[in-house]
């Protein structure tokens, strides 16, 4: 029974506060009335009776408060009323509240967005069953200059051995990426992404087809039957979700493939293809090089150590150890790593660097908020003193402040989720499709929890400093003095500003270096004329074009048709264009004192008009002509880097390579994305150009699996609106050849520099945010000084000080703090930014231009942020200020 009574009271106190309060009020008032009655009966006058009664009661409010304190659930109730009071306080200071909430929303929002990337890329498991049993293989090279430990693609021999001699694993390989191919199914002709995979690829991923089956081992043998598995979206969009699709034939690469399966809805693979076909890997052709990407799944009852031992045993016994050829004297071994790590390792440094930058933003925000709340606490000294005088305990006062901070943090945190969501969406608009190795970057419960924790942590961080600083304040004396903002608090606030400016300097310097690096890459001497060039890509991964004669006919007819387009000056075809990733070959010099020298070079086939269309300067000899046909002398054109590397800069024209191939010309270097020795995303490299007419059938078949050739035209005026006519010209030569895309040279440049542009955009946004927050911080510091010292300023101006002089005196505090921060930031940057070395191109870590830019930017911002609030000084009327007291 007592327990029930207790629970009832507790609930009543919590939820029916109003009724309990009315009851209490009535009770105390009736008590007072009865006391008065009693006194009147005792013979007192009306007034005296009332006074005596009130004296005995001791104040209705105090009595009620004493009852309230004894009530059950009083603690909870007090927090509730603190919250209400806090909200009222925050509503009463909309400027302060808005500043704090916006600061939190932006800074925590930035963290939410970046953390959701970290979450999606590094924390979340892959969307496959038992992801912990999935992996890929790393090659560890030690004891040579090229020491490394990373994911390597594998060649045909490695794949054979892995498949047959490592029973601990279910293994599979796929093409490095998808291949663009032309699909003809029923009346539909279209360009689709084909993922070429080995037999057990879907088993490793743990995917079961919705219809049909996986590829059989027979279908994966070289020259085996041609089969296809459709993705769910292709099955639905192109084949109308036809349940009888199995066994039907579709045309891919102009060859019939039998549909054997359909993937379930939402099934993703690392390839993300529209249609899957058997890889049919061998040690020949594609399998000669390391062109296959491998994934593995540990079988039940086996450990990763056992699997690693088996991999090493079989791969170390190979005939061709290319790793040793490339790194003489090195020690090479292999080990498995989780697939998640293998897929995201290359992005890890960038993502973590962004997380650090986001952490900086949070610290800057905390410094600002600490300053703001410190000032607010000082301003509320009188309120605090009043409450203390009315009997509030120190703890109650502190609790009130903490609750207000927490309220701010929660409101800011709620907004920050919105900010994070918008930021992520913008980020995705920036990203090319399939740029990230994950299907989505969700704002899931882990991200939400992170946001909540960060928000609360922020409120503790920015609330702690003011709480500590004000604990020493003598509230009694502050009642008298009106203001407590002493020298100590100013120093503290200046320290906070200096700290946040230092962090801003680091972010600004970092993003400045990235911008400089991007500018360097985008303004590399092009070596050709990019304006007025339009590019059309189409897939020639087609059995018809394995025949060189058909291929030549297509090139001749299509380029001739494109030249007929009004306004088109020239047209050509090239396997690769400047700025693109370029394949390579191994050559041997055949004459002179360099005879026998070998080396890798980038390799591009082109039609005769290629150099003229791109307007690449010819430095020596001649370019190709129609006479350089299949049966004529094999000729090549090389670039300047080629001549420099192999002939020490001497004229290469007339020299022979690979026994009988004659160099007939030398052209200028163009920037490209190297497949040979990538030290930068764009660089110039030794390159040989080959007449498209002299390329053999097997090589054409192989090249076109990986690369879609480019049709290029040069126009004098319009580059837009041209695409439809280019496509018509191509269709004249082959009606079944859809374009996969149209590009300007600028588009290709952007595509190659996606990562660099992302880095600049993200870090730049962070630096801008940091700058904004710092400006707000300095502004608040100075504005508050003006407000606090209005009286002093009035006196000084009354005594004859000029406005300018006073403005200088007041503004000095902000400028000094900022200056100190800049110096500190530059010193820190000198140490910290060294980690950026590997992502900088054409600019060093110690870059004068960047430093100057940072210093000038902060100088301008500081000046602006101090000037604006000091302008108020001009409006101060000394006479009025003096009268005010």
């Amino acid at each position: 029974m007592p327990l029930v009574a207790k629970a009832r009271s507790f609930l009543r106190n919590l939820f029916f506060t109003r009724r309990a309060e009315e009851d209490l009020d009535q009770e105390v008032r009736s008590h007072l009335q009865m006391l008065i009655d009693e006194n009147v009966r005792a013979g007192m006058g009306r007034g005296e009776a009332e006074r005596a009664a009130r004296l005995e009661l001791g104040g209705t409010e105090q009595v009620k408060e004493q009852v309230r304190e004894k009530r059950l659930g009083n603690g909870l109730h007090a927090v509730g009323s603190d919250c209400r009071f806090g909200l009222r306080q925050l509503r009463k200071n909309p400027g302060f509240t808005l500043t704090v909430v916006l600061t939190l929303a932006l800074s925590v929002g930035a963290n939410t967005a970046i953390f959701s990337l970290v979450n999606a890329l590094l924390l979340k498991s892959l969307p496959y069953p038992h992801p912990e049993r999935m992996g890929t293989i790393y090659t560890r090279i030690t004891g040579s200059s090229g020491a490394s430990d990373k994911r390597h693609n594998v060649n045909g021999e490695q794949w054979d051995l892995l498949r047959d001699n490592v029973p601990a694993l279910t293994s599979a390989v796929s093409s490095g990426g998808t291949t663009g191919v032309n699909l003809k199914g029923g009346s539909h002709v279209g360009y689709v992404h084909d993922g070429r995979v080995s037999a057990h690829y879907l088993d490793v991923l743990g995917l079961q087809p919705l219809l049909g089956r996986n590829f059989s081992e027979d279908e994966d043998r070289p020259h085996g039957p041609k089969a296809a598995i459709l993705s769910y979206s292709l099955w639905r969009n192109v084949f109308g979700a036809d349940p009888g699709i199995l066994g039907q034939s579709i045309l891919l690469r102009s060859e019939p493939y039998t549909v054997v399966g359909v993937l379930p809805q939402g099934a993703t693979t690392p390839l993300n293809a529209d249609v899957y076909t058997p890889l049919q890997a061998s040690r020949e052709g594609e399998g000669r090089g390391t062109n296959f990407s491998c994934i593995i799944r540990l079988r039940d009852g086996v450990t990763w150590e056992e699997a690693d031992a088996e991999i090493n045993h079989t791969w170390l016994s190979r005939a061709g150890r290319y790793e040793l050829t490339d790194n003489p004297g090195a020690k090479v071994n292999y080990h498995s790593v989780p697939l998640k790590k293998g897929q995201t390792d290359s992005l890890r440094p960038q993502v973590l660097a962004l997380m650090v930058a986001a952490g900086f933003i949070l610290l800057i925000a905390c410094a600002n908020l600490a300053g703001l709340t410190l000032v607010r606490m000082m301003r509320r000294t009188r309120e605090v003193a009043t409450r203390l005088a009315l009997g509030a305990s120190g703890w109650q006062i502190q609790r009130q402040f903490w609750i207000e901070n927490l309220l701010l943090a929660l409101v800011g945190g709620a907004f920050s989720v919105g900010v994070g969501f918008v930021a992520l969406r913008e980020l995705f608009l920036l990203l090319p499709e399939h740029f990230l190795p994950v299907a989505s970057v969700p704002l899931d419960s882990r991200v939400m929890l992170f946001t909540l924790v960060i928000s609360v942590l922020t409120s503790v961080l920015f609330g702690m400093l003011p709480a500590l600083a004000t604990r020493r304040v003598d509230l009694r004396s502050s009642m008298v003095h009106r203001s407590v903002a002493g020298v100590g608090s100013l120093r503290l606030r200046q320290g906070l500003i200096a700290g946040e400016v230092a962090l801003t300097v680091m972010l600004l310097a970092g993003s400045g270096l990235l911008v400089r690096s991007l500018i360097h890459l985008e303004t590399l001497p092009p070596g050709f004329h990019a304006n007025g060039v339009m590019v059309e890509k189409a897939s020639l991964d087609d059995v018809r074009y394995h025949d060189p004669a058909t291929f030549r006919k297509l090139l001749d007819e299509s380029t001739a048709a494109m030249r007929q387009i009004p306004g088109v000056e020239n047209a050509a075809v090239g396997l690769n264009l400047p700025y693109e990733f370029t394949g390579n070959d191994w050559i041997t010099l055949s004459d002179g004192k360099e005879a026998g020298h070998q080396g890798g070079v980038d390799w591009v086939y082109v039609t005769p008009g290629y150099f003229d269309t791109l307007e690449m300067p010819l430095l020596a000899g001649r370019v190709f002509t129609d006479a350089d046909g299949p049966n004529a002398q094999h000729v090549i054109v090389v670039n300047q880097s080629f001549a420099r590397k192999f002939y020490g800069g001497a004229n290469p024209v007339g020299r022979y390579i690979d026994k009988d191939t004659l160099i007939v010309g030398e052209v200028a270097d163009v920037p490209l994305s190297s497949g040979l020795d990538p030290v930068a995303p764009l660089e110039t490299e030794e390159t040989m150009y080959v007449p498209a007419a002299q390329v053999g059938g097997p090589l054409l078949a192989l090249l076109h699996v990986w690369v879609q050739p480019n049709w290029i035209v040069r126009t004098a005026g319009r580059a837009e609106g041209l695409t439809a006519e280019m496509q018509r010209a191509l269709e004249k030569a082959d009606p079944n050849l859809p374009a996969s895309g149209f590009y300007t040279m600028g588009d290709l440049l952007v595509r190659t520099l996606t990562m660099q542009r992302m880095e600049v955009a993200l870090l730049g946004a962070m630096a801008a945010l940091a700058l904004l927050l710092s400006a707000v911080g300095i502004f608040a510091l100075v504005a508050n000084m003006v407000a606090e010292r209005t009286r002093e300023i009035g006196i000084r101006m009354a005594l004859g000080s000029s406005i300018g002089r006073v403005m200088f005196e007041i503004g000095r505090s902000g400028v000094a703090a900022s200056l100190f921060g800049v110096v500190l930031g530059l010193l820190l940057s000198a140490g910290a930014l060294r980690v950026m070395q590997s992502v900088l191109y054409g600019v060093g870590v110690y870059d004068m231009t960047t430093s100057l830019f940072v210093i000038l930017t902060l100088f301008a911002i500081t000046l602006l942020a101090t000037m604006l609030p000091t302008l108020r000084i001009a409006r101060i009327d000394p006479a009025r200020t003096l009268r005010e007291e």
Partner: protein, 110 residues
């Protein structure tokens, strides 16, 4: 703020209130006057102590309350003992008896 500063007196107040209510239902002022009367004026219970104690005891389930009319036709809140309250009075009385006996013994010892 309270006029009776020790925990012993806190316990005493509870006991005195329970004892006053043992004779029948009573409002706050009545209890206060009754205590004054039965202790020969030794304890003057101020509302600041009385009301918190009354509310606490009601939450404990020792008393229940209702609104009624006072002898002078004022609406007043009346309290009465519950079953638990009677038990509590018994227990408290026994405890107090032991304590006062012990204290008396201690003071008599030479």
């Amino acid at each position: 703020m309270s006029a009776e500063p020790t925990t012993l007196l806190q316990g005493t107040l509870d006991l005195l209130i329970l004892k006053s209510l043992a004779t029948g239902e009573m409002h706050g002022l009545g209890i206060s006057r009754r205590i004054q009367q039965i202790t020969g004026g030794t304890f003057l219970v101020k509302p600041g102590s009385l009301f918190p104690a009354l509310h606490r005891m009601e939450e404990e389930g020792w008393t229940s309350s209702f609104w009624g009319d006072s002898e002078n036709n004022r609406r007043a809140k009346y309290y009465r003992l519950t079953k638990a309250g009677r038990k509590q009075l018994e227990a408290e009385s026994k405890r107090w008896g032991r304590i006062s006996w012990a204290i008396a013994q201690a003071l008599e010892a030479s």
